[in-house]
Symmetry: C3
Amino acid sequence: MDATSLRAANAALRSTSPLVHCLTNTVVQTITANALLAVGAAPAMVDEPAEAGEFAAVASAVLVNVGTVHQRTAEAMRVAARAAGQAGTPWVLDPVAVGGLTFRTGLAVDLVGMSPTVVRGNASEVLALAGAGKGGRGVESVDGPEEALEAAGELARRTGAVVAVSGPVDVVTDGHRVVRVGGGSVLLTRTTGAGCALGGLVAAYVAAAGDALTGTVAAHAHVALAAEAAAATAAGPGTFAALWLDALDAVDGDALTRAQVSW
Amino acid sequence: MDATSLRAANAALRSTSPLVHCLTNTVVQTITANALLAVGAAPAMVDEPAEAGEFAAVASAVLVNVGTVHQRTAEAMRVAARAAGQAGTPWVLDPVAVGGLTFRTGLAVDLVGMSPTVVRGNASEVLALAGAGKGGRGVESVDGPEEALEAAGELARRTGAVVAVSGPVDVVTDGHRVVRVGGGSVLLTRTTGAGCALGGLVAAYVAAAGDALTGTVAAHAHVALAAEAAAATAAGPGTFAALWLDALDAVDGDALTRAQVSW
Amino acid sequence: MDATSLRAANAALRSTSPLVHCLTNTVVQTITANALLAVGAAPAMVDEPAEAGEFAAVASAVLVNVGTVHQRTAEAMRVAARAAGQAGTPWVLDPVAVGGLTFRTGLAVDLVGMSPTVVRGNASEVLALAGAGKGGRGVESVDGPEEALEAAGELARRTGAVVAVSGPVDVVTDGHRVVRVGGGSVLLTRTTGAGCALGGLVAAYVAAAGDALTGTVAAHAHVALAAEAAAATAAGPGTFAALWLDALDAVDGDALTRAQVSW
């Protein structure tokens, strides 16, 4: 696995346009859908329990993000995760604010037990999910990715998932290999939903690449490169968000090979 | 009916500022509200069943979009559609992803039986609603508007609704006349909610114009002209979304008379 | 209290980065979160009743906005308001469209009885909440702030809350003093959620300033200054929204001292 695998993952994404079923929080649905459209995927949000399993079974990938979860959407997430598992469809768990809040922490523990393909979060969330921390402050992390590396590796080995920890330098591991993705921009942390949209891109890339580690790294590299390009011309966090979507559209497979990835 | 009727519809919209009650999916609420504000209408989203009928009865028009519908909002939609019908208020049905998912398809069939003023969707959705297709892939259409023309005409004659099918060239029919609207931009399909916002504009224009066919055509022409203007300067899908709202604001009645409309 | 207190409030906001728990309507969650991030606060949206009290108890401030309230979120709002009260945490009530709709009006009356720190709305909403009006048309006000001044003062004295009435010139009162904030831009009224985001900024500033009147005035001045800056270069309502976020980020304590505030 090297930089050329990222080019291949991007080519697969652009040619297959994976349908990503997103069960995600209501704050970030729009930017998640727009980010998926920008990279060439097809988003759809369906979170009625009566439909979630039916739709997950036909989607290319599923994203489960517990940011604004409540009783109904928790049930839809369980249904969708089960259907994805039965269909062999890759699915991504984003454990937003897990650790600090009881209801979602219980749900996330259950979901982790249902064999997600990828777990993507910040360091505090991954530490909490691995049973090694007490969670951050809402969506903010009080720890850095390197502090969560050991817990991420254990979580990966225990669950079989690829675990990605976002930060100034992202860490991605399958429990054996560790890949780091640098670059990006601090403006990503000042745009609500950029991290959550990354979860959607991980789902799309994993479906396209057919390999969870490659797809997860490709998504992180794509987001980081686009953020660098957008930050170069943005006048602040508002214009950054629009320019980041433009840049997600513009990043191609060749660009991905030049991302700051340490294999 | 000709191009001057579009100018009159726009003048009526700007002078009456219709209040559009939107029961729509959570992914597109923001862009729908902003698009309505941009053209001079007043949006309001109310989807608690205990309030939906009360509000629909005082609104100028109602939009029902089933994109992220669930049990509660389905009930609110039934209540609002009933109240709109009793008050003689025009209402628009957008059957997002109908055909492929059981729960919403049943709901949409019920809603179609409640005499919507306009049905607006993509070809796959209209084919499914007319009983002639099996639905698309989430919000994407696998068919083109011309393939849905016959089904649209039948649906219009059976229900009394104007039926609009979105695509590269939009088709609008009342079951007798067929009007086509060209122009626009492919970037509309890369901006989540542009089609759903169009549904809101149809509601606003129909309320203002007092004629469902004229109002529906005017809304489609307005959206297409704004998309062309935005695409001319956008650097990608992110900047396009903001520029499209600017252009929705800028398009006036004179511009509408120059839209690519084939009566 | 004078202009220098606004500089101090901004310094406190930037240095403490208050965590604002937002129970707000789904149309405006994104712009509210982005506006909070732009001024240096940390937003989080949690509206499951099982979590709302737990989270309100650890947040720096709470925003309760009833724009798209329904049974579940109404319960979460009651729980969060109660928890904020018990913890001595400041909380802001935004009574969107109260007066015209029965369900939310009953809820808002209950919430007002739970001692909000600040009530922020348009004139029609404040008149309705004070029992002196019948509400506006959805989120639009049919009255001006000065017409609501007496009612705002009475509401403030009765409840102990600071009451802010938005309009071309905003009026803020604690029932004894009246402060007016001018400036701003009409484009704020053409951007969905700008007023609701202001409610979030009021929560953040009140938490940081430690004084409800100062914090509320500072938030209004910050929003108005940013709107003026954005309007100077915006080409329409779409670009305005992005530029307004940029400007929220750029406004600093020195700028605040030059806002159009009449103490």
